[in-house]
Amino acid sequence: MGLNIDVDGLKLAYDTVPVLDGTEFRVERGDLVALLGANGAGKSTLLRCISRILQPAAGSILLDGRELRHFNSREAARLMAVVPQETAADFDFTVEDIVMMGRFPYLKRFRKEEGKDYDTVRRAMEMTGVAHLAERSLAALSGGEKQRVIMARAVAQQPEVLLLDEPTANLDIGYQSMLLELAARLNREQEVTVIAAIHDINLAVHHFNRFILLSGGRVMAAGRAEEVITSENIQKSYGVKASIYRHPLHGVLQVSVVSKKENTCFDQKKPEVHVIGGGEEALPVLELLSQKGYRLTVGPVSAQDSSCRFAHFHSLPVIIVPPFTSMKDEHRQEHLSLMHRAAAIVVPPIPFGEGNLPILEQVAAVLAEDKKIYIIDLQGVAERDYSGGKALKLLQEMVDRRAVVMETIESLPEIIGSGGGGTSE
């Protein structure tokens, strides 16, 4: 099962605007491929060429070495099924009628559907979970159910290749992953070669194992996620700055596009703020302050820390220390100088332990030099204090010495801006 697909030098233009401009790639038998790319990159056009709706002006598409246009319609439909983005339902076929249409390429002209066609249809409906809807009208179904019915029709076609053209564009997140999981299952269990145009890269990485990134009608990158989904490629093909990171639970690559607001430069007139890093909990603070234009410094953190990535991404000064070691003198000096430069220091709701206690001690020391220090969520410290109460004690001492305590971070930028704080008056 499954077919090799060779696309070579494909060219196609709408009017004079080239949409495919020498597209070339090879999809191996049994591959599970996500076709990525910005709007207008040529994803749909490419799929429509492969599904024989469009005739490319130049180039060739080979299915197992045989020129695609040499297949007749029925032959092609026995090899290849398509799930489009949306299916109009302004007619009243039942779900079973629709799925039975998948048998069309197998039915001879004057022959009626036979038992084995009904069996295939039933199995397809059971696989996609629409068997209970068999007698319902397609028009009466929800978008998610409809797509599963169309998926069942594709399954009933018993294809070697399954093409999906943004099949999840109109679905909620539950149905999105259910549908892509179905495609992945077909690939796994029946070795169907799957090519799916997908907008949502983060969704795609969960279900696919090969990626083709189109840009301007050409293949910009192809291969595993790590080879294709890089911030350079995203920047070049989508024209946005994006950060790539690993999903905290699944470890797959994720893309986060940086909003325009974040892209704006740090405001030179605003005071510099030093944020104590370490752990995910520092991120919201960094995010908020950077959006408001505060110049930030970060540290000390380990190179793998999320605050460190944030700092790198925005080219912020950051003190990097090796993980699981105590701070060296040089780092202490650096940290001290950053804190001296800053107009304010923020202690986010991070966990504390023996490892970062020295950092807190340094903070306490600069408080004596009349620095503004903001401690977020003092009440919660007890829960994340792994230093046997030492951190809590230190922080409480700081509060006694006019460090500002804040329950939440929302008003932090304003309060820093006004140079004030509740207890510091």
């Binding site: 429509r48 599904s51 024989r52 709706i53 005739q55 007749n72 319609s73 029925r74 032959e75 092609a76 439909a77 026995r78 290849m80 099924a81 398509v82 489009p84 299916t87 109009a88 339902a89 302004d90 007619f91 009243d92 076929f93 039942t94 079973e96 009628d97 629709i98 249409m101 998948g102 069309f104 390429p105 039915l107 002209r109 039933r122 059971e126 068997a131 068999a134 007698e135 319902r136 009208s137 028009a139 009466a140 029709r153 076609q157």
Partner: protein, 365 residues
């Protein structure tokens, strides 16, 4: 396994659906037979069913019915030369219109499409009006100038519309529909222009355009039936493809339908049906619109059923309305097109109202 149970249930339902369709088809056949009988009995001249039976029996070879009173030969002529060919012609025309309506609605995925949607009627009308005003007296194969010009006017129009709508190898149905509307509007303007200068022939022109089956002959029946049959066979062979086309051309093509070829064949078949109908009877509206809608409402959109059922119902309906047209103000008769519009339009509105909760091609559920 639960699937055994559901399979069982499923076949039960399928049998139920099949039974419903069989019953519906039987009802249609019965209706057609009844309508034919009633239409043969009714008319300006009372013949009486006994006489009708014996006249019909006399037409059988080697048989002569015993009878006490001799039947007036004029009765024989009225029955055999006027009523019967008219009933059969009405059946052929009605079937052709209903089937072509079903095909065009499916092809254009537009429930408002009727047999005249891509301009056949205005082309045929222009041909007919041209022939009337020109006073041509040519006869080909027993046909006068008006039906000939109407037929070729219709066929020429569809050819032009098709050529206009073609983009490379493909003919997008949307473009076809739009080209049809544009060409139709232009030709209608020409018809109006000619009608304006029609003078004495105005009555004839208007009458033709109202549609009617008056003066039906066996000759017309003989010519009409091969067209109707050819067109019918042509479109019914491709009814499974037409089902797939209802999902959209791209989907149909993904399912293995050679859409361009199928479109061409269906277009030719349906156009033949319409051109033959229009050239024999003028423009008779609403049969092609209402009949397929009604059938869909009862039996769903499957063309393998829709097309034969529409043929039966369309034939029966046109015989019925034509009979009404003959007897309602007998001995004068109305153009049947008026009756079909008078009955068809309210019926269409009723269907529309009933289907409110369903979609365009609603039915079944």
């Amino acid at each position: 396994m639960t699937s055994d149970k559901s399979n069982y249930k499923n076949t039960e339902i399928k049998r139920g659906r099949g039974l419903k369709k069989t019953l519906f088809m039987a009802a249609l056949l019965l209706f057609l037979a009844m309508v034919i009988i009633v239409a043969t009995i009714l008319g300006a001249v009372q013949i009486g069913w006994r006489n009708i039976l014996s006249i019909l029996a006399d037409t059988l070879p080697f048989y002569s019915s015993p009878r006490a009173v001799e039947i007036a030969p004029v009765y024989q002529d009225i029955l055999l030369k006027i009523r019967l060919p008219r009933v059969l012609l009405a059946a052929a025309v009605g079937s052709s219109l209903a089937v072509s309506g079903a095909v065009f609605q499916g092809l254009f995925r537009n429930p408002m499409a009727d047999p005249y949607v891509i301009g056949i009627s205005s082309g045929a009308a222009l041909g007919a009006v041209f022939a009337m005003l020109g006073g041509f007296s040519l006869t080909v194969g027993g046909f006068g100038a008006v039906p000939l010009f109407a037929f070729f006017g219709g066929i020429a129009t569809i050819t032009i519309v098709y050529a206009m709508a073609r983009v490379g190898r493909a003919v997008p149905v949307m473009t076809l529909l739009l080209a049809g509307i544009a060409v139709s509007a232009f030709l209608s303007a020409l018809v109006s222009l000619l009608t304006y200068f029609a003078g004495e022939q105005l009555h004839q022109v208007v009458f033709w355009m109202m549609g009617g089956l008056g003066g039906a002959t066996w000759h017309q029946v003989k010519v009409m039936i091969p067209y109707a049959l050819a067109g019918y066979i042509c479109v019914s062979i491709f009814s499974r493809e037409l089902n797939a086309m209802l999902m959209g051309e791209e989907t149909a093509s993904h399912l293995g339908v050679d859409t361009e070829k199928v479109k061409k064949i269906l277009l030719v078949g349906a156009s033949l049906l319409v051109a033959a109908a229009v050239s024999t009877s003028g423009i008779i509206g609403f049969i092609g619109l209402v009949v397929p809608h009604f059938v869909r409402l009862v039996a769903g959109p499957d063309h393998r059923f829709l097309i034969p059922a529409s043929a039966l119902l369309g034939g029966a309906l046109l015989i019925a309305t034509d009979t009404l047209a003959r007897v309602i103000i007998a001995p004068t008769e109305l153009p049947v097109g008026i009756i079909t519009a008078l009955i068809g339009a309210p019926m269409f509105i009723y269907l529309l109202k009933r289907r409110k909760k369903l979609r365009y091609f609603g039915g079944g559920g």
